[in-house]
Symmetry: C2
């Protein structure tokens, strides 16, 4: 009842890089959730397709996309809460299955995002070369060839990745067929570690987190 306040509540902060590393990572985590939530909401309210990718300062890619992951996450949640009592074996099967699906999906998504990221890098590089001079100030022809060629290489690599995916699938028509639900989300350690490869953002933690 007294005038003693437990906290100062939300405080205004300067819009610049948070220097304290811990604060920064907490803020990142909280705001990331906020953005994903907003993305989810505009998608629901307005029927818009939304894609958000956030690379943390450590290089970890986190993403939200409508409507797939959205509903997927909801399914996960519902399942986790509703049928907590299942046969252990089925449960294990589910988990393995989901882990594989999740991994596959993440790989595909990572590749896709990497292509996009490559495009951004193109601009970034062009910008950095001229100190403060942005790429749009440079002559058109000057910024063209090398970067576009680089991008094309990425695309070709991406194409290769997809080809492999296809091949793998074509050869493995022997997995279970029963539609299954929910389970744990995290997949870890994908092995694909080559810092110079166009599709590896950060070899050490190249995983996707599912939102929610």
């Amino acid at each position: 009842m007294e005038g003693i306040k437990k906290t100062r509540g939300r405080q205004k902060i300067e819009m610049k890089l948070i220097k304290n590393e811990e604060d920064r990572s907490i803020t990142f985590s909280k705001r990331k959730s906020g953005i994903f939530k907003k993305a989810s909401e505009i998608s629901t309210l307005c029927g818009a397709q939304v894609g958000v990718v956030i690379f943390s300062s450590s290089g970890k890619p986190l993403s939200y996309a409508n409507p797939s992951i959205d509903s997927l996450a909801n399914r996960f949640l519902n399942q986790l809460e509703e049928d907590d009592e299942t046969h252990p074996l089925v449960e294990i099967h589910r988990q393995m299955r989901l882990e594989k699906l999740n991994k596959e999906y993440n790989q595909l998504k990572t590749d896709l995002e990497a292509v996009k990221e490559k495009g951004k890098e193109l601009k970034r590089l062009a910008k950095e070369r001229g100190e403060e001079k942005g790429w749009w100030e440079a002559p058109i022809d000057e910024l063209g060839v090398e970067e576009v060629e680089e991008l094309m290489e990425s695309i070709e690599d991406f194409h290769l990745v997809l080809t492999n995916h296809l091949a793998e699938r074509a050869c493995s028509n022997k997995n279970g067929n029963k539609p299954l639900h929910g389970g744990a989300a995290g997949t870890s350690g994908q092995g694909n570690n080559n810092s110079n490869s166009p599709f590896v953002i950060d070899a050490k933690e190249n995983d996707f987190d599912l939102f929610f």
Copy 2:
């Protein structure tokens, strides 16, 4: 001073599609700005790379990406406000130049986004086929081949687009070389209209808006 309230203030709304079309588009516009702002903020505060793409219900792609577009937009704004007095001819040259750059950039970006969009569509299709059954419930092999092949086609098309870009640039080493600044942002009507092409989202308004 009296207790008469001018408005009811913000009201709670159900988290479902807004049926009234006008309300929906207003909400879309407002929340889109909100999301872009949040994206900008997490980028600044946490040094994170962020990419956001939102397709309005009419199919118009809007995007925010850190840091390129962000700073680019600021440059535009600054220029527009600061050197409003220049030689008309130079001004015209700038505008043409920027229009071309902007167009090029938008095209590249559109292509990039479209590839990503294709990936999302893949999931969407897989989801729709089984009524309420999400793609992750379907057997892995069932959802693989056709959609991935479709995606691969897109990639090949994209590759072609890039090849053309490259070729165009290689042949046109005759344009002006003077680094120039700011100007108007909007480009309109790109002509590239083929609803079944993998890279045309909405032929009628296939442009990008710059944020801010």
